[in-house]
Structures are given as C-alpha cells and as structure tokens.
C-alpha cells in the first residue's frame, strides 16, 4: 500500500555565486539541486516530498520528453513547474525552517508527465543562515498513493457515475465530482477508524502492583 519513492540520484547542492568563491565574503543566496532519474524510464510525477533546511524560496524545473519532440533536436525541454514557492514566510526567522513539505502534481504550474530530470533551485535571501538546503527529498510516481497513512482507494470509487435521477427531484443533479470527493473522504475515515484501536489508557502506573524503582534512567 505504501508507495516506494522513485530511486534517483540527488546531487549535492551547487551554489551559484558571482565572483570568486574563495575570496568572496558574502554567502551565496542561491543553490541548485539536480535530480537525475533512471534514464530508461521517464517518470509521471505525482508528488515531491522533502524536509526543508533553511531554504526560503523554491523553484522547480523539470525536463520533459514529449513524443512529438522525438527525432528533433532539443527533444527534451526544461519547463518551470513551480515558481518561487515560499517555504519560510519570514526568512530571517525560524518559521518553516525545518518543516516537511509536499508538492503534488495539481499544485504545479504545468504537466509533469514523462519527466526525465528535475532541478530544484533554492533561494535564501537572508544572510544570517550558514547553510541552506533540502533534505529527505523523495519523488513519487503517478498511479500509486503517496503517503504511508493513506490506503488505496478501490478503483471504482474514482469512477462514480452520475446518479440516475427520478423525475420528481427538486433541484439539479448533484455534481458527481463533489459526491465522489465526499464519498472518498468518508471512506478513508471509516477505514482509518476500523484500522486503529482506541488509545484510551487504563491508568495503571505500576507493574503488577509494584512501583519499587531504582534510579532514573538517562537513556
């Protein structure tokens, strides 16, 4: 049920700096992370999940291979699918600095099918941070659920037909999209509840009536 992220090579961030890297006192504010995907299979991207580490703004570009481009030069084009997305609303302060983020395909500006490479451009305009990067970067392919705690929807749920309406119904036909979303939510809810037992405690702090303890443990 839990999807595996696509195996890919995440290169270390390359900082972009004007001037001599060694002698320039100012810290770079832009760096680029290139992600190479296994070249044989272009990927239909579903979601990108990562942990932030003091990056303020993120731009994502993907290299796509389009069937119509095959045979021509520049068969693979780079497009921007996320522009200057804010991860830290106040770059001089900690808010958002170490949070987890996920970007799913419908939040992106363009279609992310048939992706062969991904480039993440990180910006941190504030000079107070020593390093900034992204960690635990994972790409998830389309067609599978992406989070551990979500269960797979049966396929028929995604294809709810509009309801057959009796003629004397007041109002119009309910929007099938809306109905299917609500049913999906309800279904996930019931599945989660069925899967989890209650966490109510019993209230005992001793072990078989004994609370005779040694010193406190440091680990």
């Amino acid at each position: 049920m839990a999807t595996d992220p696509v195996p890919c090579t995440v290169r270390s961030p390359v900082t972009l700096q004007v001037g001599d890297v060694k002698t320039d006192l100012a810290r770079p504010g832009v760096s680029v992370i290139d992600v190479a995907l296994p070249s044989a299979q272009p990927l239909d991207l579903q979601e990108i999940i990562f942990k932030n580490s003091y990056t303020a703004f993120l731009t994502v570009r993907v290299q796509r291979r389009r069937p119509c481009d095959v045979g021509r030069d520049g068969a693979r084009k780079w497009v921007t699918c996320l522009w200057n997305h804010c991860l830290m609303p106040s770059p001089h302060t900690e808010a958002g600095s170490q949070d987890y983020f996920s970007l799913s395909r419908h939040q992106l500006l363009c279609d992310v099918d048939q992706v062969t490479a991904v480039r993440l451009i990180l910006r941190q305009p504030s000079p107070v941070w020593l390093h900034f990067t992204l960690e635990e970067l994972r790409l998830y392919p389309r067609g599978q659920q992406v989070s551990d705690c979500w269960v797979d929807f049966p396929s028929w749920l995604s294809h709810l037909a509009p309801q057959q309406q009796p003629e004397n119904l007041h109002g119009g036909v309910p929007d099938p999209e809306k109905v299917s979303t609500e049913v999906q939510q309800l279904w996930v809810l019931t599945e989660m509840i069925r899967a989890n037992q209650t966490a109510a405690r019993i209230g005992r702090f001793d072990v078989d009536g004994c609370y005779d303890i040694n010193l406190l443990s440091y680990t």
Binding site: E94, S102, S104, L130, S147, G203, V207, I213, L216
Partner: protein, 527 residues
C-alpha cells in the same frame, strides 16, 4: 505544513474521531442514541436523521461540538504524514537537543538527591501509614515533616541560564555585535509578533471595546457595559457553547460566572466517572509514597503558604498536586510537548522493557514555584475533584509551555523574545539604559512569565489576566503585560544604576491594574 485543504481536513477529522472514540462522551452518546429508540418521534424509515435530530434537541450535539472544539484547541493541527513523532513535539532539532540536555541535568539532580539522602524514589506505604494519611487527608498542611535536606530540583533562574545559552548552530552567532545578534538575552531567531500584529490579534482589548477590569470600575455606570456583559455571559452559560464562551471571556469574566465559564471553555463537566477517577488517584497517593511528594511539600511551604492570598488553600494544594503526580492521563500531552517523561525500571529489572515505568507516573517533575499554578484556581473551585480537573486541563494546555524548551509561539522562549523585542522597539532608551547598568530586563521579568504572574499580581487582577489566556488560547499576553509593566515604571527605572535597584522598583506588582496597562501599551502608546 504543505497539506492540501481536503487532505488536511480529512486527516484532522480522522484524528479527532480517533481520540474521542475511547472517551466517556462516546459511550454516553451511544447510550443516548440507543435509549432514544423508544421515543415515538424516532421512525425506522428515517432512523439516522431522527436520531441526529434528537441528539441536537437534547443538547448532546452541543456537547460533542464542545469536545471537538476542545480537541482542536489542545492538539496541534495534523502534521505532514512524513513528519516523525519527534517533529510534532518540536520541529527544530537544536531545540530538541537542548531540551534533552536540560532534562538530563534535572534527572542527575534528582538521582543525586536520592542517593545522598538514601531515600527511594518510590516506596509502598505500610498499612499503618496509609491509614494515618487517609485520616488527615483534609489537613495535610498541619504536618510538619523535616524538609530541610530537600532542595528544589531547579528554580526559574537556572532555567533562564539554559535559555540564554540556546544557539542555532546554523545561525551566524558572531562575537562581534551586528544586526544578527539580538541585544537581549535570547539569541534564537524565532518569529514573534510586532505591535501592529498584536493589535490585530488582541483586537477585543481595544479602546472601543468594553472590558472587565476597566469598564466595570465604580466610576462607570453599570448600564454602559457591565450589566449587558453579565447578561450575555449568562446566555452563553445557558447555551453551553464552548466556542462562544472562549470568545466571550476575551472581555473578561464576571466574578460570579467565572468558574462555570472556565469549566465550559476547558470542557470540564465533573461527571461521576471523573469524581471516581480522582478518588482512584487519591488511593494511589495513599498506597505509594514518592520522593516527588516531598518536593511538592517543600514547594508549597516555601511559596503558597507564605503568600497572603493563598496560604488558606494549603491543604487543597496538596490534594491537587499529590494526585496530579499519579495521573497517567497527563502522559498524553507529551505527544505535543517537547519534553519527555523520565523513565525508570522496577528494582532488579534494569533494562527490561516490560518493567519500565515513568517517574513520576505523570512524567512531570515539579520545580520551585510549581504550586503557584494551582493556587489561584482555589478561589474559583472548592470541590477537590473539579479543582483537580481544571488544573490538569490548564496544565496540559498552557502551563507546560512555560518550563520546556520549544519554538512554539506560546513557549517560554518565544515569550522571552517577544518581551525583549517589544521593550527594545518601543522603549529603546529604557532598554539601552538597563542593559548598560547590567540589568537586562529579562532577568527581572522572567520569573513573572514562568509563573504566569501568579503570586505577583493581586488575585482579582491575575484572574482577569488568565481570562484572556483562555480567551485567546495563547500565553503571549504574558509577554505583553511584562513589557507594559516596564513601560509603566519607565520613569523610575531610568533613574536606577544597578540591577538590585531595578529589581526593587519592580518588586511589588500587587497594586497594578492589568487591563489598563495592556490597553495603554498596545493601543494608546505613541511610538
């Protein structure tokens, strides 16, 4: 957290349902629904709708609403599914590490006290001693055990030293003074609100809104505000609506209604099972003696018993705090508290997980001044089990943030930074002067904030302040009040030339009126 709205909502709903599932409210709702089947208005064809209607009219839907509202207030919004549990406790790694080191120091201190005094951390009381304690349960204050060898595990000023040394390793903490270094004692770059944001956040405290603590003074005719406000309060209580009560108390609680309003906001109903639970805790106290009990005794004797307002409640304080230490339900709050409960093993079973226990059972080691969190509540609640529940709820919602290291906006680190930033921005001359004479303002105001001003303000003023803590579900007002107090005594403070003299100017806050100070500082100061 970057969760889309729909997924975030579904996840929140699922988590709340999960938490309410084992609660007594759940079984009561089931029982009510089953009982309603006998009623004539419940028809089989429309069973679900009719039962829902019945629950609405009988007030049970409102109780469920209040429970959901309470869960939303207490638990943080659902995190990203990839976030591990420690991230939910505290997202910043260096703060988690600092909290871990601080806890280790406390454990070492407690262990060494235990070894030096040759007193076990816990022991079962012999039957004779159990009977004796049961007999004098209502007058434990008359006991005068020898507590000279016990010392508090830590005092607020020890904690302040730790906070002063907090550093983000990824931040440029140069020795040279620069715009990167803060001029106060706190050197971590947390986001705090500025005055325009505070004005917006605390908009109900504005000059054009009626307040208890200002507009109920003797010179103001009660028809202008007070009478109507009391009437609205009574309506809120009749409706039993938690959310409405929380909104209402932002303008202050009438004294006669305060106890019920706070209970409504905290969702405390004192059912028979709650009273039974309290009695169970009491029997745990009778059966086992903990080292922590002596720390509690010592704290009460040193603080509340010496206070003019609170010494009469000494017995209540023991009844609440001793039971609090045995309450394992408090362990739940550690999922959103950066702290971790101390662990130990049954004698002879070191390292065996089946014999691992928490110590004390509720995971909270009291420090010097801890009993002052309970003392003001004794004015409102006289029934021990209700007093107990109110305190416990206040602790797991608010007070725990005042003595653990976290980046939360209501955590003590943020409050300290908010205080220092407000003072530096709006009273720069005073801030600079105090710094120059070696009297960093936070050294004086820290103890006020850690205790939520309990024991420093007059009781009626303190309760007006705590009304707003409940109303806004935030402790930020403590930092604002601390800055407002400095602003109020600025003229005297500009003339002092030492830390001791500054302390003397700010030693007595018992004559201060809290609401006018807050209003002037936020809304009427020209900056």
């Amino acid at each position: 957290m970057m969760l889309e709205e729909d997924t975030g909502l579904s996840l929140a709903i699922a988590q709340i349902v999960q938490r309410l599932k084992g609660s007594s409210l759940h079984s009561q709702l089931e029982r009510q629904a089953r009982g309603s089947l006998h009623k004539p208005e419940i028809k089989l064809e429309s069973l679900k709708e009719d039962i829902k209607e019945f629950l609405k009219t009988s007030g049970w839907e409102k109780r469920l609403q209040n429970a959901v509202y309470s869960e939303l207030n207490v638990f943080p919004s659902p995190c990203h599914p990839a976030a591990p549990p420690e991230h939910i406790k505290e997202p910043l790694v260096y703060m988690r590490k600092a909290q871990g080191s601080w806890e280790k120091r406390i454990l070492k201190s407690l262990n060494s006290m235990c070894t030096e005094l040759s007193i076990p951390l816990a022991r079962k009381r012999p039957i004779g001693e159990q009977k004796e304690l049961l007999n004098k349960w209502n007058e434990m204050g008359t006991d005068e055990p020898d507590l000279t060898l016990f010392r508090p595990v830590y005092a607020p000023k020890d904690f302040l030293e730790v906070l002063m040394n907090l550093r983000n390793p990824n931040y440029e903490n140069g020795d040279q003074p620069s715009f990167r270094n803060h001029l106060g004692l706190i050197q971590v770059p947390l986001k705090v609100k500025d005055i325009p944001e505070l004005k917006d956040y605390f908009s109900e405290l504005g000059l054009n809104t009626g307040q208890l603590g200002i507009d109920d003074s003797t010179q103001v005719p009660p028809e202008l505000f007070e009478n109507e406000h009391v009437r609205v309060g009574q309506t809120v209580l009749t409706e039993q609506d938690s959310a409405a009560a929380q909104q209402y108390v932002r303008q202050g609680c009438p004294t006669a209604l305060r106890a019920e309003l706070w209970a409504l906001i905290l969702n405390i109903s004192n059912q028979p099972e709650d009273i039974l639970y309290y009695e169970q805790l009491k029997s745990n106290v009778i059966q086992h003696d903990l080292l922590v009990d002596s720390l509690i005794y010592k704290d009460v004797k040193l603080t509340a018993s010496n206070d003019d307002y609170y010494f009469v409640f000494e017995d209540y304080l023991y009844q609440v705090l001793l039971c609090f230490s045995r309450d394992t339900s408090v362990l739940e709050h550690f999922s959103y508290n950066s702290a971790t409960p101390p662990k130990s093993y049954i004698r002879g079973k070191l390292g065996m997980e089946e014999y691992a226990v928490f110590y004390p059972p509720n995971g909270v080691i009291p420090f010097h001044g801890f009993s002052m969190y309970v003392a003001p509540l004794c004015f409102l609640y006289h029934e021990p089990s209700k007093l107990y529940q109110i305190f416990r709820e206040m602790y797991v919602r608010f007070f725990f943030r005042l003595h653990s290291i976290s980046s939360h906006p209501s955590g003590i680190v943020s409050l300290c930074l908010l205080f220092e930033t407000l003072l530096q921005t709006h009273l720069p001359q005073l801030f600079y002067h105090l710094r120059e004479i070696g009297a960093q303002p936070l050294r004086i105001s820290f103890k006020w904030m850690v205790r939520a001003f309990s024991g420093y303000l007059a009781t009626d003023q303190l309760l007006l302040l705590w009304d707003r803590i409940l109303g806004y579900n935030s402790l930020e007002i403590l930092a604002v009040l601390a800055a407002a107090v400095f602003a109020f005594r600025a003229v005297n403070l500009m003339e002092v030339t030492s830390l001791a003299a500054a302390e003397a100017v700010l030693a007595d806050l018992s004559t201060l009126k809290v609401m006018p100070l807050l209003q002037i500082f936020l809304f009427a100061t020209v900056s």
